[in-house]
Symmetry: D2
Subunit: 342 residues, 4 copies
């Protein structure tokens, strides 16, 4: 195999101010993408958010998952084994601890379909996004269970009830990755000045396009305009596994007029990011993560959550800016044409 | 804004043989990703596919879409305007032609929700993936319609019924991007030799994991193991807008035992790729596309379809290889550990 | 088999005023259900709608579908056959006409997955809901196609891409049943007097519960509070196949404050109802349909559409009334307790 | 309001033999529906299942749910309140116990979207399906929480994350109603004799139609042919709230060839049935439930689970019979025509 690099243009935009229980920073945002309009879009959102007092952001939850799949002789045996496995949960946790210093088994969910038993194992994985850690831990759990329940047979180390990089509902409902909410209040005057729009128009387009339009499209937990664009750019710039933008993009935008001003939020229940692991050793990634303050000496997980908070802020900036642009007939294309010519 | 590059490792794997109504080639496959195991996974699949006579692949359909959104006074007026717009379809097509040499309006779909009118405009866009071309054309269509139906008001140039980079059903059902099917028949002996598995095991895990497991996860048209990994790597290596892996990943894998051998296919209804446009001017992209034979002098669209066929073949190789690995307890993690150490 | 009747309590509530391009009536609404609170809920909605000038309702589209399924040797042949079938569309229509006076083939959609070819056949079926008519017509189409394309083999007369009585996206996106929108404007004063709420509160709860709440639940085109309750009651009272409430319940409620008043609408894209066929011969059904004016001598389809419009109005009344009740802490349970005691 | 009855034809079909950890019976099955072919379909399935040794069925889980919705000033406060509520879980349970002898709070799930807090409260409700019990209990929980967290405001007693009678994913993933699996093994000879088909054909059509076809349709956890028909008929015959067939219909059929015979199962994660409550006081319902042995003096919940097991067996019979019919070109329509003429 010959080897080279795909060189994706990377820019720092902003800065943006972000506060919350775990963060208080004014930082530029790193974005790498072939879609050049994304830079300007996020930049405008960062500016208006910062002059309005900044973005508040909070991590609600975090976990990484893998679902293992067993075959039982029939549903009754599958059910009896499930009861036995649940009662043995502490020992599953011990099996996990033999595989990594950082992986902890925190919860478990199951599904039985006919004679098939799916177990969805949920872990915390320190500062890593945790795909490999979870897979390795799950292998140990499977081996433990196959001894505990000799009636079961191995079917697959992954049963798609995880669910990795696919458009499903389970990740939002049961959790996968960091669950982050970011929000901002933009005074009406700033909405006019920086976004050339009004709080009313932005609230209205959000309901009509992001909520109703997505529903009509048969959307699955995807009430937003373009989270995917910001996620891809942020993931590539920070060495993440960008295929996880698939579950990452499943989030919801809210916009309301409050006392005449615009309240705006993005909810991202499935941000899979990490500050260590695959892709994090590349020199430019080291540099980017360091500049973001995500390589500090903190308790395990804190650097990862900081990165998730900054990521969510980037998404908010780009989402707000595009929605505002769409309220102005003609603005979007004019902006695109100008940006691409430059 | 400071500017640099995110350097994503790029490798050529294979070669793989691909045939069909529009292609007959033996080619290496370009992949760029931080997830190094993907290289070896696709490489193994390419090898076994090629010794088995190669992959057959066909483009079923192609189109790029944008949904525009109007506000009517009420549903009755929305409906009357829709009737008028349908009757004026040829003139919508003419409005489109003023915006680009390549964009052609080929079909239109609509939804009315309350007083909102969503029109989903469907275009062919030559060799471009066509996001911008479709947006620009849709702006012209909107302007035409706002004159035709003064009762309507502009609400948004995009109404999320398009649907771009979001987990929805509309793209698979109405079409967006290239619709490609790729398939291969692997003799039982080759399944054993190269994939360390059997046709029976692969057919069974496909039903249980990809079809039933995904269904349990609340999946939306996503009956596969990991299309997203190959799509991301192929998209980054060829200068595509990789955020489109979101709809791209919504496809279905099939595996059957036929006369003792393995028949295996991937169906990818939403491959959004192009050989011209954003990101295609970077030197390494030019080189990659040229090497793939996608910069030849063909009728508009033919280079784009060729690229989609090669992309689908890459997906097939990686999907087949991972499913086979999962039928062997322990193989996946052993392979991962070996690859990441190297 | 012994035979008797399940006696479901049936009441007439209202009256309600309904107008639109195809209707102008003040009528009581027939509802049959074991869930007694539904009667009072719809009744309250009917009252407030009527004092506010009545409900406007319109049929946007109508069709009944059946998807047939063929097996091809491979995807390339499946694709070639599909092209041949499309070119032969007029003859498919002729095959349909041999099976019924009323069934007309109006459109066709397809999906290819691997070597499988799904054709979704779309019919108008006069005043019948049309399940059997469509199945019979599709059998004739299959036989015609099997002669036209000897490479294809019969797999199933129904391929689930229809899709009958299952939670899917295709029916909303491609159409199945009557597509009806009903709307009403309630002056602020009437909202307060009859619904003990305000336009603002109802608009807000609709966004938060019906749109955002449903999205969080992983809902599929189901942005409403309880369409299913009214549909079940109306379907049982009018002799419909009530299993079709599954697709029927997939609709969207909208509520907005307009000039201080409440604008409220329900969009029901999949109302499968008829005035002739299975269940319509029972004496009480004859009586109910006659009283509703749906047994008049009109052009084929007009009685069915009238029934769909009245059905949608019933849904609007019940939906509006429940949403209003939910804005008042305590009202719902108090009402339930009172109703069930009586 | 005038009052009468909708008379839905009710028949007893079968008998069928059902065994499992909680049941051992040979019983006829009560079905009420306007769709007469359902009677014969279930009857045929019951016969072949019984001559093959009967159906095994097991209840995997049971719970009834209601999601309440609060408004917080922002996401950070919503998160802090959620932490406080979780810590107070035992007191939520005590609040529930003041409302009913039977309702027990067994678990709780949450979602935060922007400043909205959704709590999904999960109960056991004895032999009742439990809609009203859960609503009443949730009202008490809300009141308790509003005192515990004065920062929160009441938004809705139901937030659609429950999710009642709507096509969503949450019910299958988090549980709602009885979760039942029923299965049967039919010797190859019996498949030929009674079903005029082969195990291979039935296994194949199940994958192609129920799994792949549903996926293509954008289906949500709905891998079956027609659960809705049997559910509607069983629900009407036993006095259930038949609008719950919406979540009830979201289940998965599996069919495999095992040692040449047919193994067939239905998985129904969301069977909402009860033996007491609304609709259960009608004389014919009393009679039907008594005949089914569901009015015995057992521990709370046991009668309800027995009813769910019999319901699942009915679904299995009808599903098996229709799939077999569909493997025979022409059989379906011939059967329909014969049945409807009689």
């Amino acid at each position: 195999m010959s080897e080279l690099f795909a060189n994706v243009p990377l820019k720092w935009v902003g800065p943006v101010r972000i506060t919350g229980p775990e963060i208080d920073v004014e930082t530029e945002l790193p974005l790498a993408t072939y879609e050049s309009p994304v830079f300007a879009t996020v930049n405008r959102g960062a500016r208006v958010a910062t002059v309005s007092g900044g973005i508040k952001a909070v991590v609600i939850d975090e976990r990484m998952t893998r679902s293992v799949l067993f075959e039982a002789p029939d549903a009754i045996v599958a059910f009896q084994c499930l009861e036995k496995i649940k009662a043995d949960f502490p020992n599953l946790g011990k099996a996990v601890e033999t595989t990594s210093r950082f992986a902890k088994l925190i919860d478990m969910d199951s599904q039985i379909a006919g004679n098939l038993l799916f177990l969805r194992l949920e872990y915390t994985t320190g500062d890593a996004s945790g795909h490999n850690m979870a897979t390795q831990a799950s292998e140990a759990v499977m081996n433990h269970i196959l001894e505990l329940c000799p009636e079961l047979k191995y079917e697959s180390l992954s049963g798609n009830y995880c669910s990795d990089k696919k458009a499903t509902a389970v990740n939002g409902i049961r959790g996968r990755g960091k669950y982050v909410v970011a929000e901002v209040t933009i005074p009406e005057k700033m909405v006019r000045k920086y976004l050339k729009s009004t709080p009313e128009k932005i609230a209205q387009i959000n309901v009509r396009k992001n909520l109703i339009g997505t529903m009509l499209a048969g959307g699955l937990r995807s009430g937003n305009a373009h989270y995917a664009n910001m996620l891809l750019a942020f993931y590539l710039a920070t060495g993440q596994d960008a295929a996880n933008i698939i579950e990452g993009s499943q989030g919801i935008t809210q916009a309301e007029v409050r006392d005449g001003d615009l309240w705006f939020s993005v909810t991202l229940p499935n941000l899979i990011v990490g500050t260590v692991g695959n892709g994090k050793g590349l020199p430019f990634v080291e540099e980017v993560l360091t500049k973001l303050g995500c390589r500090e000496d903190r308790e395990p997980g804190a650097n990862g959550r900081r990165l998730a908070l900054i990521c969510a802020a980037s998404v908010l900036c780009g989402e707000l800016s595009l929605l505002a642009a769409l309220t102005n007939p003609g603005e979007l294309m004019t902006a695109h044409r100008k940006l691409e010519r430059s």
